[in-house]
Symmetry: C2
Subunit: 458 residues, 2 copies
């Protein structure tokens, strides 16, 4: 049986014979006794296995190495020792798979750097058991929130021939032999490629998402996303997962409501389902983690315009490396000051139009767009969204200014022609959320197999 | 409010004023009255809006085109006409977005071919409202099943430098300028590429999934998958979604149990949540659809070895285009005969080793592997799985025979060294499932934006 099942109703199994299958995390040997720290990965808690020299395989069992896979039959009893309430008195242990003594995952504290090099083994450590379980539960919590609220989950395509987001940020995809690319008039001959055209992996499903919002009113995407950014920071990866909801008949105010409600719902569900994992992370990774998350659920998020945020920063008397400016983006140090100042998540909205994406709705002032970023204490920007421009004339103008190939997105523009309506959407980087939920500071440590410039191992 | 909310508790809103936002699907005009067939996409059911010439905007409203986006305020009343129980007596309608008369989605039956060319508009038609809603609900049902049963959802990487699945089936991914690939000694110089190596998009997350199964016992993946296959059939697409669960301490028998239980759970949930959608599809797409799905849920799946299946086929007296053979794969016509014969889903297991993948567990007979395909009536193969080979010597041999680059998958082989255990997994093509659930016969019509050879539009 799974340890998870056992712990869910443990009194029921007291003094009963049970069979468990999993791995030896640690092994203490005494002359007449042995103690195995056992885990099967189905829950964060381990189980102590106790065996004594009355077992005929005693000598054999004492030789079992850390990391080995075993099947154990025994009786669940109240623990004699301290440190746990229950333990299993072993009747037999079968070695399913041995593990040599040079096994890299010894029961001691390893550095994150070392563990990254052992990416295929690190999910067996406590910290990664916690992180990747939370990743799984958070993903489900996101689905739960949207499905409960009548959103349709849409699988937008990853392969695309439209480079409207700027092909310099997108990976190229091909079936041609890269060592011998066929050419025509001195250029690659994509007519020989599988799709007959230069093809990319998209960096966003938003435009396609909008087409489905015009049919289902409320939709969301949740899938892998790719950026070619050649930057080695703690928050950038070339492959990551993103959630992009899009809602018809929605203005910016309601968009903020959705973002706030969704985040609180997800954090609540993780608090409820991952208590043991969070306790561990609170103790060993980020002190105060649980308090931070509980506070988020119960606080009302602050809403402030970009203009007022800059004003606050300028009047703060703080010495910033970058001087805050009404026309500019907000630097990381500014984000930090603002979330510290309010001690709460903060929506900053109505941004200068020149620093935001071309499809965002121009406000009546002609200077700002109806865009909003959500900044959370300790992690910075978690979501970015906007109302979308639906005025066809303005959109045509924007397409020209931003050098977007009009022909490739004619279908997108047509959405405004064929029963368009005001609508809004946002994007949330899933790894940002997991970093916030776990207190882990490097994006490489919340992705099973992270891809960063120069690193595509495993 | 959403139509979905309204229908959930419709008696409560009777004679109350409500506000709805959505689209005009049809518009019948009479001299003194008008009837609008209204839908907002949040549920399959529409709502009839009735207005009369007492409204001051009567003439204006009569001009509203099909496809337009509107906000309507009115009173929910018992319907006077036939065809529906309730309707909305309009107080006012605001036109949010007009739609021209040449709108391609007129309320008549369009061919699938025509609708594929209008991929961005087709989700507004009844059939695609049904298909894509079922796609969304089925995705959630899959997550629900696995999460409920303690599986951890793992995001395996899509970018990979390991071509162990055969790079001829994988897309190449690059940041290099395809028109001017830098070379070194006559070959592409991948040291200048973002990852410093030739990189691919993977066609399976299984190998990575196994590493997580050795940590969490039970895991699943659910993500997009890519194949370069240059084949134009009703069942092939170059981009599709796949589910790949992997379970430690599991033999083939239990694997079949999981597959059967999971499929029944998903079909039950879709039957429960998508009754209106299925009724429509049953009537217009595949007669008997609901009966087929209900039968699946209540039937015990047949289990038969490949050997016995071939024997049955040979003894059937049937004239097949391809003669069944004990050493060969089972053709589509054979699949069909077998599922017709049993009138039930059928597990065919223990396949000849030479026609299956290299990582599958060799049975004691030395001739067959512990692999299983699930065939379902009307759709053929829905899942394929196997127990994995864990004998290191056999695996080393297999790697050699199948020309797999040992160095690139050393980590995978190490799983057998570091506390390995018997384990099994399967893959299910998500689109195959959706085709089965909807009765739709072409994979292009269950994917929002299908990618097939020569086709990468939108």
């Amino acid at each position: 049986m799974d340890l998870k099942e056992l712990y869910l109703d443990i009194e029921k199994y007291l003094d009963k014979e049970i069979t468990l299958q999993g791995w030896i995390r640690n092994h203490r040997k005494q002359k007449e006794f042995g103690f195995i720290d056992f885990s099967d990965g189905t829950c964060f808690k381990h189980m102590q296995l106790v065996y004594d020299n009355k077992l005929k395989d005693f000598d054999e069992i004492q030789k079992f190495h850390i990391g080995s896979a075993i099947t154990v039959v025994g009786t669940l009893i109240k623990s004699q020792g301290s440190g746990q309430d229950y333990e299993v008195a072993v009747k037999s242990i079968k070695l399913e798979g041995d593990c040599p003594e040079d096994y890299p995952m010894q029961p001691k504290r390893h550095s994150y750097e070392f563990l990254r090099e052992q990416a295929y083994l690190r999910p067996r450590t406590n910290v990664f058991q916690a992180v990747f379980k939370i990743r799984s539960v958070a993903a489900q919590a996101i689905h739960n929130y949207f499905q409960k609220n009548n959103y349709v989950y849409v699988h937008t395509p990853l392969l695309t021939t439209a480079d409207c987001e700027g092909s310099d940020q997108m990976f190229k995809v091909t079936t041609l032999d890269m060592n011998k690319v066929p050419t025509k008039e001195g250029k690659a001959d994509f007519s020989k490629d599988l799709f007959g055209k230069q093809t990319y992996i998209t960096g966003s499903g938003q435009l396609h998402g909008e087409t489905f919002a015009m049919a289902f009113k409320k939709i969301y995407t949740f899938g892998p996303t790719f950026r070619t950014e050649n930057s080695n920071t703690k928050t950038h990866a070339n492959e990551f997962w993103m959630i992009e909801p899009e809602m018809a008949f929605m203005h910016l105010d309601d968009l903020m409501n959705v973002e706030e409600e969704m985040l609180k719902s997800v954090v609540s569900e993780v608090l409820e389902k991952c208590h043991n994992e969070l306790e561990f992370l609170d103790k060993f990774v980020q002190n105060g983690l649980i308090e931070k998350l509980e506070k988020l659920v119960s606080s009302a998020f602050v809403r402030i315009t970009h203009h007022d945020a800059i004003k606050l920063l300028l009047e703060s008397g703080e010495k910033f490396e970058f001087t805050p400016s009404y026309d500019d983006d907000i630097a990381k140090e500014h984000e930090k000051w603002i979330t510290d100042h309010f001690n709460s998540p903060v929506f900053i909205y109505n941004w200068p139009k020149d620093i935001k994406a071309w499809y965002m709705k121009l406000n009546d002032d002609g200077k700002t767009v109806a865009a909003v970023d959500l900044e959370v204490p300790g992690s910075g920007e978690l979501m970015g969204g906007s109302e979308r421009e639906i005025d066809m004339d303005k959109l045509e103008e924007l397409v020209k200014i931003h050098n977007v190939d009009r022909k490739q997105i004619e279908w997108y523009l047509n959405l405004r022609k064929f029963g368009g309506c005001y609508h809004s959407g946002f994007g949330m980087g899933f790894e940002r959320l997991i970093m916030y939920l776990t207190g882990i500071e490097n994006i490489r440590d919340v992705i099973p197999y992270p891809r960063t410039p120069g690193n595509c191992e495993y």
